[in-house]
Subunit: 381 residues, 2 copies
């Protein structure tokens, strides 16, 4: 099967090179920006790919919703299979693309959009056929895991950890999507779509790592805790819950052995129990290998990760509550159900009784609105 | 697809029940021992299954090489797909069964034979299509992991840990295959067959946990180490290496966060990097869920885990060497390249310079032949 590659950046170059050595796959044309088609196999007009009957599949690794969506839709309408690593695209337009794929008897797979090299969504989409998934999530953003690990193991401050991540190519020049938690949130949205048949687009709570300081890292360490950014989704009474927030775990927790830019994705099936997958969360070769794996799956007959009944809807986090570790201005500590509290300069550090996820995120937004700083991390149940 | 189940023990009952709820699958007849066919859907003659044209696939969960081999061969010859959880069968007859499956255009899959609920072999068989695997292995036996964990975290002695494992159904009445390392060895043989196209049946080294004592656990703990039984396979100059032995890891190693009866299987691809999968290594539902996942894969078009070129052959461990932690009678310490040694009653405890795997296992066999006790565990490189 000849595969056209849309985008020739870090991942696109990896996909193109791997195609030369993969069983049953071959290199097709590569879509590049106008003026960049400096090789006969590069092309800057998508129509040249869509109308090329020798192309059986398209690997979209451009990023962004447009023009990626239009290009993928055109490829599917032409009966070509589509594989993508683009979580923004799938979070925004996945259901639409899956429907187009079904209509035109083409495949639409997106393993590489969640977990980097980790074959999480592929296995989740298999598991739902015979098991019932109860919950899923994990460490789904390699950039923030690298930064948290650097701050905690190597004692770097936030700015140095970010600079390090940028120097190594783990963080982009504008790191907002990663450090704000948005990237992890998009991935848990995809997980919920595959695992529960509901793509939650509203009612989500999302806290990143932007408030995490070297002082927070040091204080957690003193208490035997380690901070990770966790994405969590699961079945709730009214549908699904889905949120992203820092979590403070005992140092022996499996999450704390996930270092550098690695990801750890997990799901719990009623029958399988917990299945945990760890691998590199980003980078040319891990991401390209996930794209290639999806293409191999197409050769084996796989067509869809989203079930025909998958719909978009609202997450309901109202049933989610846990104790939190919180650093906030001492005057605000009374807003929380304090279990234990101690002073740290003008701040209070608090261990709370259970607080609902929605309330905790709302309080943080309120404090920030009034110019106060706050860091919070969920504690293990 | 109607699925017949061969065997109605712990796993067979789980498979039969899960078939009632799985997409695209339905319950077929169940093969039981003569005289045990007390329900209309139970049958004690394999011919009744092989000749039943309504049966599309057979799930073999009886264990043992015979009669499982004859039954699976008959099913494949009748064009029925075969899925098995039986590592002894696949280690002894896998290549033959895979050839029969190809000849009769049927599937032969055996994810459940390695890693319990962990989808290791399935993902490995996908990865080889587009990546080159360098090494694989991990904690592949849940019984011994449960025992090691109980001895180290809860301070149990070997006999109590074994009794506990038996009480919980993790160890059989005769635990030899587990505690000797043979079960893990069979699994690494299957991993090499899938990952490298070579099923190693000779030249293997295998050490279990039978020599591990409470005193060993205490001494390792004092040094910040934790013992796990590791299976290791990989590419060597002349083919593959494959062996099983205890390993003493730093307490922060990912392996040490694998507790109870969990498994941790890993492979390293040139492009994907390390991919690690953790899940329950044994038990009715995790194993049944792996069988069901293979059946779902068949519906999606998957047919084989072993490539057509897979052959059986000899492992070559001669290139494998590392430092070891060894407890042996003090008089024998001079047989090892000692880096550090200390006395413990009549025994010496030694940290060695690098020793080849073959030499270490041979020395242990020699000492045991002369009635001396020895425990050894590889140290991290």
């Amino acid at each position: 099967m000849k595969v056209a590659v849309l985008g020739f950046g870090t991942v696109g170059k990896g996909v193109y090179e791997m195609l030369a050595h993969a069983d049953g796959l071959e290199q097709g044309p590569v879509l590049v920006r106008p003026g960049k088609a400096d090789e006969p196999w590069k092309i800057s007009d998508i129509n040249g790919i869509v109308s090329d009957v020798s192309v059986g599949a398209v690997a979209e690794v451009m990023g962004g919703v447009e023009p990626a969506f239009s290009y993928c839709a055109a490829a599917l309408k032409a009966g070509k299979h589509v594989v993508t690593s683009n979580k923004a695209l799938v979070a925004a337009k996945g259901i639409e693309l899956a429907a187009l794929a079904r209509e035109h008897k083409a495949a639409f797979l997106f393993s590489a959009a969640c977990g980097g090299g980790v074959p999480f969504l592929h296995n989740l989409s298999l598991a739902v056929l015979s098991d019932r998934i109860e919950s899923l999530g994990g460490i789904l953003n390699g950039t923030t895991n690298y930064m948290l690990d650097a701050m905690q193991r190597r004692g770097l401050d936030y700015a140095s950890a970010l600079a390090d991540a940028q120097r190594l190519g783990y963080a982009e020049a504008d790191p907002t999507a990663d450090v704000s938690g948005l990237d992890a949130l998009r991935k848990i949205m995809l997980g919920c779509a595959v695992g529960f048949g509901l793509l939650p687009v509203e009612g989500l709570d999302c806290e990143g790592i932007e408030s995490f300081s070297a002082a927070d890292a040091a204080d957690l360490k003193k208490r035997g805790l380690c901070c990770r950014l966790l994405a969590r989704g699961g079945k709730s009474a009214s549908g699904v819950y889905a949120y992203v927030e820092p979590m403070a775990l005992g140092a022996s927790a499996a999450e704390c052995s996930v270092l550098d830019n690695f990801n750890m994705a997990r799901y719990r099936g009623v029958n399988s129990g917990d299945i945990i997958m760890i691998g590199q969360g980003a980078g040319r070769w891990p991401t390209a290998s996930a794209v290639l794996r999806d293409l191999s799956c197409i050769l084996r007959g796989e067509r869809a990760m989203l079930g025909a009944g998958c719909v978009s809807g609202k997450a309901d986090n109202s049933g989610c509550a846990h104790s939190y570790y919180v650093r906030l201005p001492a005057g605000y500590a009374g807003r929380l159900p304090v279990k234990e509290a101690w002073r740290d300069g003008g701040d209070a550090r608090v261990i709370t009784e259970p607080v609902s996820v929605a309330d905790m995120h709302a309080l943080a937004a309120e404090l920030r609105g009034s110019g106060a700083g706050i860091f919070f991390a969920a504690l293990e149940d």
